[in-house]
Symmetry: C2
Subunit: 411 residues, 2 copies
């Protein structure tokens, strides 16, 4: 019998009506003879309400106690869904993270799963019960309640699927799959039938918010087939799985991601001596500022320009750190720009296809969009452009890589 | 070092402000060098809100799952109070029923405590921490979350005090102690310094709502000194303890309880044969109706009258059961009365004093109050009277037994 782990997020269980709808959906799968483990988040808004209660006591709640409070959110939804299933004649039982025993480390508010005891769940499945598990939470070796941090319910789902060797982990959400790009920007964007873990990771890290990066990493590591589906619409969604050596048939590019959250900083006229990159980025890192893209041009006249991007929220901070550095190392000036956007093409297919980058640059040039920075990885090419050209660039690339044909056949 | 268990009810932790006040109070005790275990209820209204969520799914929630939901109420308050204590520089830690391990039977929604593991709590106390425990909840041998039923937090407090051999279990509530009678009826009613477990049990069962009967039974059984105090007013409250053989100095009567919740049913002209009481009460009990007072007069002409009281909510049901019985056994008629009230005098002192009952009857006669039923126990005399005379009767008895002297000395 097939075993599927289904995870429903906060908006999918955001009201009693929606919980009833989820119960209908689960029953339908169960009636088809599938063994089911269902992982739930808290009702949407509930986690924030609970955190707000704690914040009324103190701006810095003790992490252990904060976990005791926020873990109640999922505890309520699992029992409500279980009741709704039993009402429908579907035998079911709920478990908190502690009851399953989802063992985590003791890093409260951002714990990592160490081990999952599958005994109780297997016994329940064998007895014909649907098992409803609280996402986002676990327990450490001392019996303290822990939480995995925001989005942790996806990770719970994937970890359970891995532990139970489930046939599939289905993540139900408010979109019906992963798209070639954001349909709000490109109406011709298409749902992907399939995408590899690697591609999904790049898409997620580049701003596509469908899945938590951690859960995708986890799924890739344990090779758990992951499927993104819409909670309340029918459809096959998008399957995220390993690259099954079908690269000859795969499209070169799977999707186009973009991100408006970055800002660019350049330190110009840097004396080009060994160790200069560390002298520049060391203080940035010491100030806890994360750096994304880094570009250093070849030098001329023994000086070089050094450019990198940071999150836009940290632009001011990074700018002042860099001013200090410029004085110390005798650089000419620091310039910056917050009106930028990053556009990336992602696809495992580009590994075996030369010329992908140049095709990208050509498409942008045709629209007279100037490229400010370039960064590449094995399955991704990212460029930084002026923000106002973002939508134009995404549409141009979507067309250039033939993503907006009416439907891709044969997949 | 003295060890005290303090229990705060739902209204005492009903808002963030009140939780802060409780934290102030706990800190004050801690600063005096007392070891403290604090037991909390859910914020007032929260348990009802959670039950209401479940009822929106189904009128008959599965008891196991209902416990999973309602137990979250206390889980939130224990963490909030612990945060508030730590903010004040008081080391503290929270535990759910499962974390302590408060082992109960598996009777969901009305579980009974079987055993309490005191290891963790003792270690925390030794390390100087205040231990904050969720009341009302526990865990069965299979790891299922259980709740003790309404008012169960008092029982948790007493059970913890018994397990830890605490010096005292303090129940904080919205009254400043146990009174000789309801001050709303008799303004001269006085707070009792002390009352015995037996007396408290009678007072509670007769309508005084200060403490849950179960917690008093538990405290008496394990001889845990119990003190009722006001959450936010200073004062010694009332100590509930064993009768320390001081009966010569004790007042004869400790208090006067009353109850308007009963109704009276009489079956008249019952053929007086052996087993007739069972024939009458058997069907009542089979209908799950609880009977309080029972009176059967001596017979004349081989028939007798049989009278008993039930909760007013069950009067109609009991009446129709009794009508059937009357037909079957050939009784003359069934009459009933819902306009009654029960007034009781309670005191361990009456054991050694003859004439207590007659003094009661005399006081009522002086006010021309007719007595409809009488029932006595070792430390209590109850009478049923017409409801409209209730306040008059309570005041008359309060005076007759010298309870409204300005202050009783020497206690």
């Amino acid at each position: 019998m097939a075993l599927i782990v289904q995870k429903f997020g906060g908006t999918s269980v955001g009201s009693i009506e929606r919980i009833e709808q989820v119960a209908d959906k689960v029953k339908k799968f169960r009636d088809q003879g599938t063994d089911l483990v269902v992982v739930l988040s808290a009702m949407s808004g509930e986690t924030n309400r609970l955190i707000d209660l704690a914040k009324q006591i103190t701006d810095h709640p003790v992490p252990r106690e904060l976990d005791v409070i926020v873990s109640t959110g999922e505890q309520v939804t699992i029992a409500l869904l279980t009741m709704a299933l039993i009402k429908r004649g579907v035998p079911a039982v709920s478990y908190t993270g502690n009851q399953v025993r989802i063992l985590t480390d003791s890093a409260h508010n951002k714990a990592r799963i160490l081990q999952i005891d599958d005994q109780k769940i297997r016994a329940d499945l064998k007895a014909g019960r649907v098992v409803v598990v609280a996402g986002f939470q676990g327990v450490d070796e001392h019996g303290n309640i822990t939480t995995l941090g925001r989005g942790g319910s996806d990770t719970t789902g994937v970890a359970l699927a891995a532990a139970l060797k489930a046939d599939e982990c289905q993540i139900y959400t408010d979109v019906d799959g992963v798209y070639t790009t954001d349909p709000r920007v490109v109406p011709q964007a298409q749902r992907l039938e399939k995408i590899t873990f690697e591609e999904m990771l790049e898409m997620a890290s580049l701003g596509s918010k469908v899945l938590q990066i951690r859960s995708v990493e986890f799924a890739g590591k344990y090779n758990v087939p992951l499927r993104v589906l819409h909670s309340f619409k029918e459809g096959p969604g998008t399957l995220i799985t390993i690259d099954e050596e079908e690269s000859m048939e795969q499209p070169i590019i799977s999707g186009i991601a973009f991100n408006r959250d970055e800002a660019k900083l350049t330190i110009r006229g840097v004396p080009d001596t060994p160790g200069v990159a560390f002298k520049i980025l060391g203080p940035i890192s010491a100030a806890n500022i994360e750096v994304d893209m880094i570009v250093q041009n070849v030098s001329h006249d023994n000086t070089t320009d050094f450019t990198f991007t940071v999150h836009r929220n940290e632009y001011e901070k990074a700018h002042s750190v860099l001013e200090n550095t410029a004085r110390e190392i005798g650089a000419r000036e620091v310039i910056g720009d917050t009106n930028i956007a990053k556009v990336s093409i992602v696809g495992v297919g580009m590994r075996s296809h030369a010329g992908v980058a140049s095709r990208m640059f050509e498409a942008l040039a045709k629209e007279s969009i100037n490229i400010q920075m370039i960064s590449t990885s094995e399955i991704k090419v990212s460029v930084v452009i002026e923000e106002k050209y973002l939508e134009l660039a995404v549409r141009a690339l979507h067309t250039a890589f033939e993503l907006d044909a009416p439907a891709r056949q044969g997949e």
